[in-house]
């Protein structure tokens, strides 16, 4: 964030506007159901559904198979569970909505674009921290209870929630930041250039994607791409996503500085 702040020439304003950014954070957290209550409720629901499924698998597996050497083979597939992915997508939607709907309101409350963006970035940081702590705690409980007593996996999967404490926390934290800042950047493009901006943005993304795929295919590079992902591992990919996160955060800020409210 320091690079973003350095964008402003007047240093005096940085100090005076700090509390205003905190106020923007409080504005965002006015209705905690949207940012915390509802997602956690859905998470609980998904967990309950998963638990019932594990229970079904558990009870329908013969006693002998469950206790055999190398046990828990019967629930091996749950390690690939993507049950917690929804929460990342939900946060992407939150980021899109917060910028799209709260920005025009914030301007009406005489908040500068800069303070709005800083307060919103604070919100993203706070939410990412809360959710990665929750997911990490759940992953440890899951391990300690050997999959809630049923060998199930939802929070300690091949994607997240394994490895050291630092790795668990940081991989989830960075993944949340990725979805937050990418969502926010998409909204700023809309705020600044409306429908035209959306068409150009998605058009470019499709073009770049197709061009990249074509290049890789012609160069026979798919095996190399696969190897890269295998070598990087999940944590490596998450770390690489930081590049996109930082680019989104930077351009989101620059674009928002010239955005106008939707009429």
């Amino acid at each position: 964030m320091t690079t973003l702040a350095a964008d402003q020439p007047a240093t005096a304003r940085v100090a005076s506007s700090a509390p205003r950014a905190i106020n923007v954070l409080r504005l965002h957290l006015t209705n905690k159901w949207t940012t915390l209550g509802t997602p956690l409720l859905i998470l609980t629901f998904i967990f309950a559904v998963n638990y019932v499924i594990w229970l079904l698998i558990y009870t329908s597996t013969p006693e002998a198979a469950r206790t055999a050497a190398g046990g828990n083979q019967y629930v091996e597939g749950t390690q690939y569970s993507g049950s917690t992915f929804y929460i990342f997508i939900y946060m992407l939607v939150i980021a899109i909505q917060v910028v799209l709907r709260t920005f025009p309101f914030a301007l009406g409350f005489s908040i500068t674009r800069r303070d709005f963006y800083l307060g919103t970035a604070l919100l993203f940081g706070v939410l990412a921290a809360i959710y990665s702590v929750i997911l990490t705690i759940m992953s440890y409980i899951e391990e300690a209870t050997t999959g809630w007593g049923l060998g199930g996996h939802m929070f300690s999967t091949v994607w997240f929630g394994t490895g050291s404490l630092g790795q668990r926390l940081s991989s989830e934290f960075f993944a949340f930041l990725f979805f937050f800042f990418v969502g926010a950047a998409i909204s700023t493009v809309y705020l600044r250039w409306r429908a035209t901006g959306m068409i150009v943005l998605w058009g470019s993304i499709v073009l770049i994607g197709v061009a990249a795929a074509a290049l890789i295919t012609f160069a026979n590079g798919w095996p190399a791409v696969g190897t890269w992902f295998l070598n990087a591992g999940v944590y490596g990919v998450v770390l690489w996503s930081l590049v996109i996160t930082v680019i989104s955060a930077f351009f989101g800020f620059r674009i928002l500085r010239r955005a106008t409210p939707v009429n």
Binding site: R13, S16, S17, R20, N23, R26, L27, T30, N31, W33, T34, Q97, V98, R101, T102, P104, F105, L107, G108, F109, S110, I111, T112, R113, R114, D115, R257, R258, T260, P261, V262, N263
Partner: protein, 311 residues
């Protein structure tokens, strides 16, 4: 002392000139009326003054500095637009819990009193509020924020007569106790004419009138009587508008001197002051006609107006 200084301000949206070379200054602690037709450029001008939109050219100074991205200037401003957007999940009460964070003069007790008086349902989602309730919400924020520079953009769209009267009363009372600069944008001119101390009329992005309200009210007069007497009297004078019905006619003229008045009375004509609304209507029509047939100005404008009226 002036709070707002605008010089040669222009805002262009594609080929449309929403604000066209406007130069204006607004005095401190005065209630200004920003009047004009739909699409005249009222909201654009206010968005430019509050840093919500960016000028194409020209300069704006509010409290001595450009307002865009200027926290020091903006924290003294309250501008709840007629088309104000609220966060998706907001209820009216959420607006009031957040207002004190951003308006340092916010008066919670006053806000509570206004909520009761306007009968605003605090627990209803803003999406579900009626047009009038939405306007009440904006009016309450505008009044209770007590910002040194407060904008009311079409504040009583959808408000019933009782609520409108309530707004005028509370605005005047609170203004007397806590003087501040108010800009009231509206096209319901008759209702607010006694409230306004200064009048700005904007049409197609240009300032038509920028005048003290008292002075403006005296600046035009209507003479009525027989068509023959009216025509004889108006010959050689600037006629803002003329209406006729058979042998009777009435004409609106620019400022009359005492001798003019005496002459009109002697000719058997009735003299009445023109309401602000009539004045704004005739000025806008004259300006429109003038821009339509530029070159052949006032005379043509007059005849177009009168034929329109007689229909």
């Amino acid at each position: 002392m002036s709070v707002v200084e605008i010089a040669n301000l222009t805002k262009r949206y594609g080929s449309v000139l929403a604000v066209n070379d406007v130069t204006l200054s607004l005095e401190q602690d005065i209630i200004h009326g920003l009047l004009g037709r739909n699409g005249a450029g009222k909201t654009t001008l206010m968005q430019l003054l509050t840093g919500q939109d960016f000028a194409s050219s020209g300069s704006i100074s509010v409290f001595g500095a450009p307002p865009v991205e200027n926290a020091r200037v903006l924290q003294n401003i309250c501008f709840i637009k007629e088309s104000q957007k609220y966060p998706e999940d907001f209820r009216a009460k959420h607006v009031f819990t957040n207002a004190p964070l951003f308006f340092e003069n916010w008066d919670s007790a006053f806000a509570e009193q206004l909520v009761a008086e306007f009968r605003l349902p605090l627990n209803r989602r803003i999406k579900k509020l009626s047009r009038g309730q939405l306007s009440s919400l904006g009016v309450i924020v505008g009044l209770a924020s007590r910002a040194p520079l407060t904008f009311f953009d079409e504040p009583y769209l959808g408000l019933d007569a009782v609520a409108r009267q309530l707004f005028y009363d509370r605005l005047l009372e609170d203004f007397a106790e806590h003087p501040r600069t108010v800009i009231l944008s509206t096209h319901l001119i008759d209702e607010v004419q006694n409230l306004l101390q200064h009048v700005i009329v904007i049409d197609e992005g240009r300032i038509l009138v920028d005048s003290d309200a008292e002075e403006l009210r005296g600046s035009a007069t209507t003479v009525a009587g027989t068509a023959r007497a009216v025509d004889a009297f108006t010959l050689g004078r600037t006629v803002l508008s003329r209406q006729g019905l058979g042998a009777l006619a009435q004409a609106t003229l620019s400022r009359l001197s005492d001798e003019d008045r005496a002459a009109a009375a002697a000719a058997g004509l009735d003299i009445t002051p023109v309401s602000l609304q009539q004045l704004v209507v005739s000025l806008s029509e004259t300006a429109q006609a003038a821009s339509a047939h530029s070159g052949t100005s006032a005379q043509l404008g007059t005849s177009t107006t009168s034929t329109q009226r007689e229909k």
